[in-house]
């Protein structure tokens, strides 16, 4: 048996580096002769720029150059990676997304000018000497007002603030409406999915460098996908071919989606370094992060479920306003559509579904994918609405769900919203969660809470997600402008050690620990024999990076395929060494043996032969042992599960305490249970943040009210209860070689509705008839709901 193969939980090897201060983050990179950029950012949400006078700033000490949009006239705007087609078959409206504001400011935080100087202090001093002449315009903040006739336009060259009006599946709309007419019960719920700021611990950083001798550029950046940045920035913005552009994303301290996108600051530093012939560095302050990192969520939705007289769901329809912010961030248009509408069936057999999404431009920071991306928004609507429905009907919310579940024998199951779930067993995770959460004992616990003057409630939520993103041919049809395969090169060294160059990127996921476990298992060697290299376009094959719970399902599968090729070739070499037929060679525990004999040769001897090919079949195979595979998934993967939590509400103040949390997930096969549990913990932590604490709020002038940690409430350790995580319900994915589904986003997807359902349960059980409270369930909101 190999040490630390699949199913083992070795400690994360990268943690030794991180915990001893040996991590190498982008901000740790300082190049000779480096300059620093300070961005002058808009402090108003909407204005015409009449003039920018940089002359005084140019003359300030240490200033190399003050850049404005004029310097970028020959450069493209930031590209959008996904084109959504609206319900009339028309492409979405796609405004230019300039590196530096051109003529108009469209959100607080937008870059208006950039000062590059020898020190950051000098750059900041000079920025204060820039004279801006602005004419302020009314800000467009509220999405529903933004799409009214006559509303101020965010982009003058577009016909309105509507990016697209998407209907899905448009052909089903009439049938859905008809089902609603025939329904014996309809539950309607209007809700807001609150805007969030991802707040990774490491803020964004970019260092641009240029080598005049070979006309090549290098960008060091905090990215989840360096190859994607190289392609987007090189091909669409700066016009640098791939072989002259290297993008390095070294250790990255958390991404949560917000480090997927190609940002203006990255292009700026790369461009400015070439202009000035000196490295240019930008390190985001936390204040800048709040107004320049793409935000998440921000949907306003109305959902309706129709039921027949037996409480079967017969139809579902939703109408969502999705905030795009002022510009289209890299994957923004796909989030409320293909990552949201396709999940509206949830875990249920609802035969008829219609989803309408209006994506709207506003004078706010662009919104894009954040942990879960579209799937949390779908799950939240559905699981809140099902819960409300159960209350209206007076039935047990768990049983209403169970009754409508897709049954275990119905897989593969084609939903009415275009996706086919390969496997699942929703009954199993529900039963498991009900048992682990001791739901049977809830009444006694509620009575005990009541004796202490507290209102106790229990909330349930199911979730389904589409992960392992994504089949390239399918997403191409849906408007993606990129493929979504993954790559791996497996390089075996002469003495048997292995290096895997992967296009996946680890920024907290622990790939350096889990990926070797897979190879250890396949070959039968210790995981310590395998090293993972990622994050540098110069030494990894073209890959699409890490997001959408895809790394193991897609990147791991590429590595699996490459390792299969390695094993096949190694067997040929072993057959030669053992003077046997290749078909008789077996690999087990790092030994190649001839079946039915005691003849064998060790892994290390075979690898040595590959590089010292003295006794080697050179006429039929090449020396060396290195293989590359690209893996393009056949379908999404569909992790699912049931989450249950209990809360206590303090009636006097509205304060909610989350007492416990139970997660029963089906992630298919699990490579490293400890890491999977950690991913669920983190996701649930962020779900608690969204449901209870986090609120990115603008005032009507477009000023960001929650622009620092003084007003933006992040979850802290004391806000998170002990979390029970179970992943024993496993229906392995049928279409990838590892049978894995992905676990990175589940916690953030499944937890918010469970939490909100629990609070509403606590209120309704105790005489407060409250239908809904919008997230975050701050004390003041909960108290107001009880007292209105």
């Amino acid at each position: 048996m190999p040490k630390d193969g699949i199913g083992a939980s070795p400690k994360r090897r990268e943690d030794v580096r991180f915990l001893t201060g040996k991590g190498r983050y982008t901000d740790d990179i300082n190049l000779n002769g480096q300059l620093y950029v300070h961005f002058l950012r808009a402090d108003v949400a909407h204005a015409t720029i009449n003039s920018i006078d940089t002359s005084a700033a140019e003359g300030m000490p240490g200033v190399a150059h003050v850049f404005t949009s004029k310097d970028f006239e020959a450069v493209g705007g930031l590209p959008c990676g996904w084109q959504v087609t609206d319900k009339h078959g028309q492409p979405m409206q796609e405004p230019k997304h300039p590196i530096i504001a051109e003529g108009k400011i469209r959100h607080v935080g937008e870059i208006v000018a950039a000062v590059v100087a020898d020190t950051l202090g000098n750059a900041r001093d000079a920025a204060e000497a820039i004279e801006l002449d602005l004419t302020e315009l009314p800000a467009v903040i509220d999405m529903k007002k933004a799409v009214q006739d006559g509303a101020t336009k965010v982009h003058d060259d577009l016909t309105s603030n509507l990016c697209y009006d998407w209907g899905f599946v448009e052909e089903n709309k009439a049938a859905v409406d008809e089902a609603f007419e025939k329904a014996s019960h309809v539950t309607t719920l209007e809700l807001v999915n609150n805007r969030l700021v991802a707040n990774p611990m490491e803020p964004r950083v970019a260092v641009g460098d240029y080598a005049q001798h070979d006309d090549s550029s290098t960008l060091y950046t905090t990215s989840q996908n360096p190859h994607v940045i190289r392609l987007l920035m090189g091909a669409f913005v700066l016009g640098i071919p791939e072989h002259k552009l290297r993008v390095v994303a070294p250790d990255v301290g958390g991404g949560f989606g917000t480090k997927i996108f190609h940002y203006a600051e990255e292009a700026f530093c790369t461009f400015a370094a070439k202009q000035l012939r000196r490295p240019v560095k930008w390190t985001s302050s936390r204040s800048e992060a709040f107004m320049s990192d793409a935000h998440g969520r921000d949907h306003v939705s109305k959902i309706q479920i129709a039921l027949d007289a037996d409480n079967n769901f017969t139809a579902l329809r939703t109408e969502t306003y999705a905030n795009m912010g002022a510009y289209l961030s890299t994957f923004a248009p796909s989030v409320p559509t293909w990552l949201h509408g396709t999940l509206m069936a949830g875990n249920y057999r609802t035969p008829l579904i219609y989803v309408n999404v209006k994506a709207v431009f506003t004078n706010t920071v662009p919104v894009d994918a954040y942990r879960g991306a579209g799937r949390p928004e779908a799950t939240y609507q559905l699981e809140r609405c099902v819960d409300k429905c159960a209350r209206e009907l007076g039935v047990d919310p768990a049983e209403l769900r169970r009754q409508n579940f897709i049954k275990p024998d119905q897989f593969p199951y084609a939903t009415p919203v275009a996706v086919e779930y390969d496997t699942g067993n929703y009954h199993a995770t529900l039963d498991k969660a009900l048992e682990l959460a001791d739901v049977a004992g809830f009444d006694a616990r509620a009575a005990e809470s009541k004796a202490r003057g507290k209102l106790r409630g229990l909330g349930i939520s199911n979730y389904i997600e589409a992960c392992g993103i994504a089949p390239s041919n399918l997403v191409g049809q849906l408007g993606a402008r990129a493929g979504l395969y993954e790559s791996a090169t497996v390089r075996v060294n002469a003495t048997g050690g292995i290096v895997v160059m992967t296009g996946s990127h680890s920024h907290g996921q622990g790939h350096e620990t889990t990926f070797p476990q897979v190879i250890a298992d396949m070959i039968g060697i210790d995981a310590s024999q395998v090293e993972i290299v990622h994050g540098d376009t110069a030494n990894t094959p073209m890959g699409m990076g890490t997001y959408g719970s895809r790394s193991l399902a897609v990147g791991g599968s590429a590595m699996f395929r490459a390792t299969e090729k390695i094993i096949n070739k190694a067997k040929k070499i072993a057959a030669h060494l053992l003077e046997a037929s290749e078909t008789d060679i077996e690999l087990k525990d790092g030994q190649f043996s001839v079946s039915g004999t005691d003849k064998s040769v060790a892994w290390g001897d075979v690898t040595l032969a590959a590089y010292v090919p003295h006794n080697y079949p050179l006429d039929s195979i090449e020396p060396g042992l290195e293989e590359t595979a690209f893996y393009d998934p056949a379908n999404f993967t569909y992790p699912s599960g049931t989450y249950i939590c209990e809360v206590e509400v303090d009636e006097g103040t509205g304060k909610v305490d989350v007492l416990n949390f139970t997660a029963a997930d089906d992630f298919g096969n699990v490579v490293n249970p400890m890491i999977v549990e950690g991913q669920v913990h983190g996701g649930v932590g962020q779900g608690i943040g969204q449901a209870m604490l986090e609120n990115c709020a603008y005032d009507e002038d477009g000023q960001l009210l929650s622009a620092s940690y003084m007003d933006y409430a992040m979850p802290r350790a004391s806000d998170i209860p002990m979390i029970t995580v179970d992943h024993s319900c496993q229906t392995p994915c049928t279409h990838n070689p590892l049978g894995v589904k992905g676990c990175g986003e589940a916690g953030a997807i499944g937890s918010p509705p469970a939490l909100v359902n629990a609070v509403l349960d606590a209120l309704n059980r105790n005489g407060h008839a409250v239908d809904h409270i919008d997230m975050p369930l701050s004390p003041s909101r909960v108290w107001s709901a009880m007292n209105s």
Binding site: S287, T653, G654, Y709, M710, D711, A713, S778, N787
Partner: protein, 261 residues
Amino acid sequence: MYNFEFVKPSSVDEAVAALRDEDAQPLSGGQTLIPTMKQRLNQPSKLVSLTGIADLVGVSSSGGVLSVGGATPHATVAAEAGDYPALAALAGQIGDPAVRNRGTIGGSLANNDPAACYPSAALASGATIVTNAREIAADDYFQGMFTTALDEGEIITGVKFPIPQAANYQKFEQPASRFALTGVFVAKYADGVRVAVTGASNDGVFRWTEAEEALSANFSPNAISGLTVASDDMISDLHGSAAYRANLVKVLTGRAVAACA
């Protein structure tokens, strides 16, 4: 941050002299001042550190009065103000360990943030704010949000708290900053009860006199059950409406009284 001069005197007199320069400012724990300087919202020409002045640091108790030096960190008060347990408990709930190890009582009272904790203790205790020039009764000292009776260049050298028979501070945390969204300090003395409220009012820390009267007559949570708190002057923001804060004033006062029992 802009450039500034830095001096660290060892006596109050030297500090007062150093503060005569234009735009000179005292620096105590720096927990408020340094962040505003980093954001370039504040541009002192000179910082006069108070933490090197031995006389300004420490806690002592005699004759029913607890005295705290102006540059005493919150952590020291939490650890050493055992004769006034409610005050020690308040200090122990300010911010996080880093803030408590650096932030000081003088800095907090000089700043008079409407959501700060100490102002409620000082006002509810009828404390005396001692400066290099005079003694100021708490009732005269707090003059609205971020506004105090201090003159330019005047330094808080200490605070004298009469020790009550019973006291309690109820802090309801603003979820993000964990300052007081509303905090109520109740202190019971032989001659009556004082109730001071922080975090709630547009006018900064204030005394809830109706509750003081009711509680002076009957020191029990029921005594205030018939009272209402007007929400007219209450703060309304992202974290709570005026009506919500008015509710907290009453709920927290009741809980503080109950905790005194």
